[in-house]
C-alpha cells in the first residue's frame, strides 16, 4: 500500500467516524450541523492530554470521547426544544461558538494552532473506525435502535407507546458527540497540527454530506460516503480548474440517482446482510 493511499485511507477512517456521529444523532430525527464542534473538543482535549500531560494515546482518545460526550449531553437537553431547521441552525451556532472559543483560547494556541502530537498509524485509526462501525451496526439491529427510529418517524407517537424520547434523543446526542470526539482525536494525531478553522461549520456540513451520500438509514453507509468525499476530488484531478464544478455535479447526480444514499436498507437486504427478523 503506498503512503499516499494510506494517507487517503486514514482520512476516510476519520471522516467515517465524523459521519457516523451525525448519523447517530440523525437517527432520532435531529439534524446537527455542529458536529465539527464536538470534533474540535475531542481534538483539542486529546492533543492536550498527549502533548502536555503525557497521557498514552488510547487513553487520551477515550477521555476525549468522554469529554465530547458530556458536552453532547449538555447540548442535547436544550436541543430538545428545537426542531428541523431551527435545531440545525442552533447546532451550527454551537459549532461556531466552539470554533470561536478555541480561536480565543490561549492555552491551545488560539489562531496560531496547536502542535506537538505524535503520529498514529493508519492501522490504529482503522482499528477505531472498524470497531466503532461494527459496534453501531450491532446496536442498529437492536430494539434500542428501533426506539431511535420510532422517535425519528413520529416522536409524539413514540412517547405515547412508551418510549422515553427525551432519553433517546439526549442519549443519541451524547453518543454522537463522543463519536465525533474520537474522530477529532484521531484527526489531530494524524495531521499533527490543528487550528480552530479545521472545525468550522464547513466541516460539519461535510460530515452531513458523507452521511447522506453514503446512506442515512444504515451505519455502513458512512464508510461509502466518507470514501466518496475523500476519493472523488482525488480522481477528478485531471479536470484541473473545473475539478470543483465536476465534484458539485457528481454530488447532485448521486443524490438524485440514489436518494436514500448509496447504501440503504433495501440494497443492504439485497446483498444478503441484515435479513429482517
Amino acid at each position: 500500500m503506498s503512503t499516499y493511499f494510506a494517507g487517503l485511507l486514514a482520512d476516510i477512517g476519520i471522516l467515517t467516524l465524523g459521519a457516523l456521529s451525525v448519523y447517530i444523532i440523525l437517527s432520532t430525527g435531529q439534524l446537527s450541523l455542529g458536529n465539527a464542534g464536538f470534533m474540535g473538543i475531542g481534538a483539542y482535549s486529546a492533543s492536550w492530554l498527549t502533548v502536555e500531560a503525557g497521557v498514552p494515546m488510547t487513553l487520551a482518545v477515550v477521555i476525549a470521547a468522554a469529554v465530547s460526550g458530556v458536552v453532547g449531553v449538555i447540548v442535547g437537553f436544550p436541543a430538545l426544544r428545537l426542531k428541523g431547521i431551527y435545531l440545525a441552525m442552533a447546532t451550527l451556532g454551537f459549532g461556531e461558538m466552539v470554533r470561536s472559543f478555541f480561536l480565543n483560547f490561549g492555552p491551545t494556541g488560539g489562531a496560531a494552532g496547536y502542535h506537538g502530537m505524535q503520529i498514529i498509524s493508519v492501522g490504529y485509526i482503522w482499528a477505531w473506525t472498524g470497531g466503532l462501525v461494527v459496534l453501531v451496526m450491532v446496536l442498529e439491529r437492536s430494539r434500542l435502535w428501533l426506539g431511535l427510529r420510532a422517535v425519528h418517524d413520529d416522536e409524539t407517537a413514540a412517547e405515547l407507546i412508551g418510549l422515553d424520547a427525551v432519553a433517546l434523543k439526549v442519549g443519541a446526542f451524547g453518543f454522537g458527540a463522543a463519536m465525533a470526539g474520537i474522530s477529532g482525536a484521531l484527526f489531530a494525531h494524524h495531521h499533527l497540527y490543528i487550528e480552530p478553522s479545521n472545525f468550522g461549520f464547513q466541516h460539519s456540513i461535510e460530515l452531513v454530506l458523507a452521511v447522506i451520500l453514503g446512506g442515512s438509514t444504515i451505519a455502513p453507509g458512512s464508510i461509502f460516503g466518507a470514501g466518496l468525499l475523500i476519493l472523488l476530488p482525488e480522481y477528478l484531478r485531471f479536470l484541473a480548474d473545473w475539478r470543483l464544478a465536476a465534484f458539485g455535479t457528481l454530488l447532485i447526480v448521486i443524490l438524485i440517482v440514489r436518494r436514500q444514499g448509496i447504501l440503504d436498507r433495501q440494497l443492504y437486504r439485497l446483498i444478503g446482510f441484515g435479513r429482517a427478523s
Binding site: R81, Y86, A90, R99, L251, I252, I256
Partner: protein, 292 residues
C-alpha cells in the same frame, strides 16, 4: 460614534434581511433550504458590477444582475429540487450545496478569485448630518429591504397566490386536488427568490463596491440565522431579526468584543431560539399548537 454604529448596524441588518427574504421564500414556503442562494447573490453582484464597469446605467445593471440570479434560481429548481422533492429536507439542502459549489467554481473560472472592484468613483457620495454620515447606497439598501418585506409579506399572507404557495408547500397532492398548479407556483417561488437574491447582490455589490467569489458563505450564514430567528414562515420576522442581529454584531464590535463577536452573535441566536423555538414571530408550540 454610537449613532454612526447604529447606522452601520441597520445597514448590515438590511443586507441580512434582503438575503434572508430570499431564503425564506423557498424555505418558508417550499420547505427547502436553498444554500445556493448565497452564491446567487454573489453571482448577481459580479454581473451587476461587471455591467456597471462596462458603462451600463444602474437600472440596466440591476436588471442584468436580477436576470442572472433568477435564471440560475429556476435552473436550480429543475436540477436540484424537482428530482429530490419527496426526500427529507437534508437531501435538497445538499443538492443545492452542490449547485453552490458549481456556481462558485464557474465564477472563479470566469472572473478570477481576486476581488472585483468597482472603480473608485462608484464609492458614492455621503450625506453628513453632524457627527454621522450615511451613503446614498445605504439608504437605498435599507429602503429596498423594507419595501421587499412589505410586498412579500402581503403577497404570502393575504393573496390567493400566497395561499396557493403555502398549500403546495404543505401538501402538494392536496393542493393539486384543489386546483393549485403546484409546478407553476414552485417555479414562481424560485424565480421570486432569485429576483430577491439578485436585487440584494447588485445593491450590496454596489454598496461595498467590491466583491469576491467567497462572500456568499459568511453573509449567507448570517442571513439564514436571521431567517430562523425571525421565524421561517414569517416574512415580517426578517425585518425584525435582520436589524437585531446587525445591531448586536456591530455593538459587540463597537464595545470591544470583535474577537468574541461570533461567540456573542451565535450565543444570542441560540438563546432567542431556546426562548422562542419557532423564532420571534413564529407561533408557540405548546399543546395548543399540535394535536394528537
Amino acid at each position: 460614534m454610537l449613532l454612526q454604529q447604529l447606522i452601520n448596524g441597520l445597514t448590515l441588518g438590511a443586507v441580512y434581511t434582503l438575503i434572508a427574504l430570499s431564503f425564506s421564500l423557498v424555505m418558508g414556503i417550499l420547505g427547502i433550504l436553498n444554500i445556493a442562494i448565497a452564491e446567487l447573490f454573489m453571482l448577481a453582484g459580479f454581473i451587476g458590477i461587471t455591467a456597471l464597469m462596462a458603462g451600463l446605467p444602474f437600472p440596466l445593471a440591476l436588471a442584468a444582475g436580477i436576470a442572472g440570479a433568477t435564471v440560475a434560481s429556476v435552473v436550480i429548481k429543475f436540477v436540484a429540487y424537482d428530482p429530490v422533492r419527496s426526500s427529507p429536507v437534508i437531501t435538497p439542502l445538499l443538492t443545492t450545496l452542490g449547485c453552490s459549489i458549481i456556481i462558485q467554481n464557474v465564477v472563479v473560472n470566469y472572473w478570477g478569485s481576486n476581488p472585483l472592484q468597482l472603480p473608485f468613483e462608484f464609492l458614492g457620495e455621503r450625506l453628513r448630518y453632524g457627527p454621522i454620515s450615511i451613503g446614498s447606497m445605504q439608504i437605498l439598501v435599507m429602503a429596498t429591504s423594507v419595501a421587499s418585506v412589505a410586498v412579500l409579506g402581503f403577497m404570502i399572507q393575504r393573496t390567493r397566490i400566497g395561499r396557493g404557495l403555502r398549500a403546495a408547500a404543505e401538501n402538494r397532492d392536496v393542493a393539486r386536488l384543489l386546483g393549485v398548479s403546484a409546478e407553476r407556483l414552485t417555479i414562481v417561488a424560485f424565480a421570486l427568490s432569485g429576483v430577491l437574491a439578485g436585487i440584494a447582490g447588485v445593491l450590496i455589490g454596489m454598496h461595498y463596491a467590491a466583491i469576491t467569489p467567497y462572500v456568499g458563505v459568511e453573509t449567507g450564514l448570517k442571513a439564514i440565522a436571521v431567517m430562523v430567528v425571525g421565524g421561517v414562515t414569517r416574512i415580517w420576522g426578517a425585518l425584525l431579526a435582520g436589524p437585531l442581529i446587525g445591531i448586536i454584531e456591530v455593538m459587540t464590535i463597537a464595545h470591544g468584543g470583535s474577537q468574541i463577536r461570533d461567540l456573542v452573535v451565535y450565543g444570542l441566536m441560540i438563546l432567542i431560539l431556546l426562548i422562542r423555538p419557532q423564532g420571534l414571530l413564529g407561533g408557540r408550540s405548546s399543546d395548543t399548537g399540535q394535536r394528537v
